[in-house]
Symmetry: none
Subunit: 200 residues, 4 copies
DNA sequence: AATGAATGAGCATTCATTCAT
DNA sequence: TATGAATGAATGCTCATTCAT
């Protein structure tokens, strides 16, 4: 709780700047100005520009993990849990454009920029989804033939692509609730009309 | 004919270079060298670096559209059509790492770099999905409450996130067929164990 | 009088382009376009860009020489002859902005660009002035202590500086006649009030 | 103090380089090397290359104004004052080849390069001449029919053209004193043999 | 710890010139 | 002669990083 936690201040500033300009177009001096420190000061806390990007990314994902985890703790039904994940994710993305931008673009960039970067925080995040699915399979709620390792990506990808459009346009054809309803309907029950219903 | 189609040669080279280094780290001279032309020659065919990026992107998406459209023409069942889309998309992404990279990263970049860029080619591509869904709804195969405008993004996002991993790692935990099976199962029938089955 | 005297056509075009953009900002392709020939064609008639500049300059000065000489042939009074020179020079400069520009700037540039360039045409032009003065001295009209080699420069410089302002602004505070009247008054009679008049 | 006045150092270096190579042929790296700073350092003090040119020009003209003004303060006779202006101008041009070059060429260039550039410093400089003439007219020393606005240009132009030759050649046919004598004789008394003298 | 002036490597783009046709 | 596509050297300017204070 230090009054002047420069490290955090800089990360906060960098998040804003990266979101607005993207990693390559962001200048260290932009971040420094936003953080109200000298350019050189940044190098007392980070090794280089890329280091800032990774820190920003991990911090943001960290917040997501924390928020989602907290919300999930109150619920045990795997169906509801998946919905909570979707709701939390989309709500935060919608609310925090910076976060959305950073995840959208920098998730891809950082993977390219640093081959060695394993991005454990991100893996931890989407593994929340596979954990829910596995638990649902144990509870015989989710089909056993679903592979959590694939389903987690499909689920996250669906949410991510939807929020991508928000960060580039002001398109608000659908409400968040509508979208969540649709995504949950698809992922839980699929798009096919059930044979039983068809028979009617 | 193709002997001196510099325009195509440069796009081809640029695709390779962008895929390998990303837009910002790619140098015009890299592209020129790859295309075996002088740096200046590139500017006889493109206005600037961004122009190359957009051309590359549109050409690649164009190929996808063409391939997918061709494959879809042979099939009328909306269930099968969706599967064909997924299969074609994933197969081409798997085969053509450059294509995957360019779509993965540059789809996000170009949107940021040019606010005015409407990316019609890309919209055309994912609208293939919504068209299939709409047709399926007419045929009473897909549920009427599914909104094609949301479902198309969820479907594309799911495929895209899965192929994202391919472009950054050599991870081959699953075969393409396995993945397609999983994605189709989820999107068509959902992850829930059907009540009927549960009742059993 | 060849219908397609490319050499002249190119010089004509170059004059226009140099006047409008200046030597360094003019592009060979600008000249080629203006002359309606291909870029490469220019190199069939000129060695390089500098060569064009010199040709333009010499052609323009040549025209000046021709015009002034013709006008002077009709007059023998050295006082009148000097006035004719001033009138012709200023009138042509006023009428032909391209010419004025080229002389103004390129006279200085070419001297710098080519140390060896003796600029004989230009020397020939201002030597018209010293010739007039010498003749006037022979006729006991101009003071014998005036050195024609210095006076010619002072006279040309005065006219040149006056026309310089025309090429950069639309300033028309004075008419050409007014200016000629003033310049002739100064150079012929000086600015001092004559002692005789003062005595009055 | 002067120990690290980078701004001045760079202007000084630029003056030298512009004089030697001209604006267009001068490289930023030439100026940087001459000033013994890094290329980038120049951009901490100037916006761009043109900005340097203007600064150089204004500084040099400023020096001229200062020197001439100081010398004029000691003299009240308008005849002598005009001579002092001529002497100072020519002497400084002769002594400082860089100054002469920059004024000669860049005075013309900058006018072309920046249409909006009013060049107030230069106007201030030549207005010294018109101020002297006006004062001389008040004192009934200079003829009332001389228009100071035209005469100032004629006078400056005469001096300028004379010094132009110095900057392109080593021609020293005449001494500065000789030239001043001639110019003053012409401008004060004109080139005509006075009627009274002729009558003799 | 903090500063911010200074550095200098790096790159997109231009354009005079060439040359195969 | 004429073309214009192709060349590639050349340079203004940026910005991540350093380091003396």
């Amino acid at each position: 709780m230090k009054i002047t936690d420069k490290h955090s201040t800089i990360i906060h500033a960098a998040t804003k700047v990266f979101a607005k300009k993207g990693f390559f177009n962001a200048r260290i001096s932009d971040i420094a100005k936003e953080a109200k420190v000298a350019d050189g000061t940044i190098y007392l806390y980070f090794n280089n520009k890329l280091d800032i990007l990774i820190s920003v990314f991990e911090k943001e994902i960290g917040i997501l993990i924390e928020q989602v985890t907290k919300a999930l703790a109150l619920e045990t039904d795997p169906k509801k849990q998946l919905e909570i994940f979707a709701t939390k994710h989309l709500t935060m993305m919608k609310k925090n454009k910076n976060l959305a931008e950073v995840i959208q673009i920098e998730l891809r960039q950082s993977a390219k920029l640093i081959k060695e970067y394993r991005n454990n925080k991100f893996i931890e995040y989407i593994d929340i989804v596979s954990t829910i699915i596995k638990e649902g399979q144990v509870q015989k709620i989710y089909r056993a033939d679903i592979k959590p390792g694939i389903a987690k990506r499909a689920f996250f990808g669906a949410l991510d692509e939807i929020s991508r459009v928000w960060s580039i346009s002001l398109e608000t054809d659908y409400t968040v609730d509508e979208i969540i309803g649709q995504v949950m309907a698809i992922f839980l029950s699929g798009m096919l009309i059930p044979p039983a219903a068809q028979a009617e």
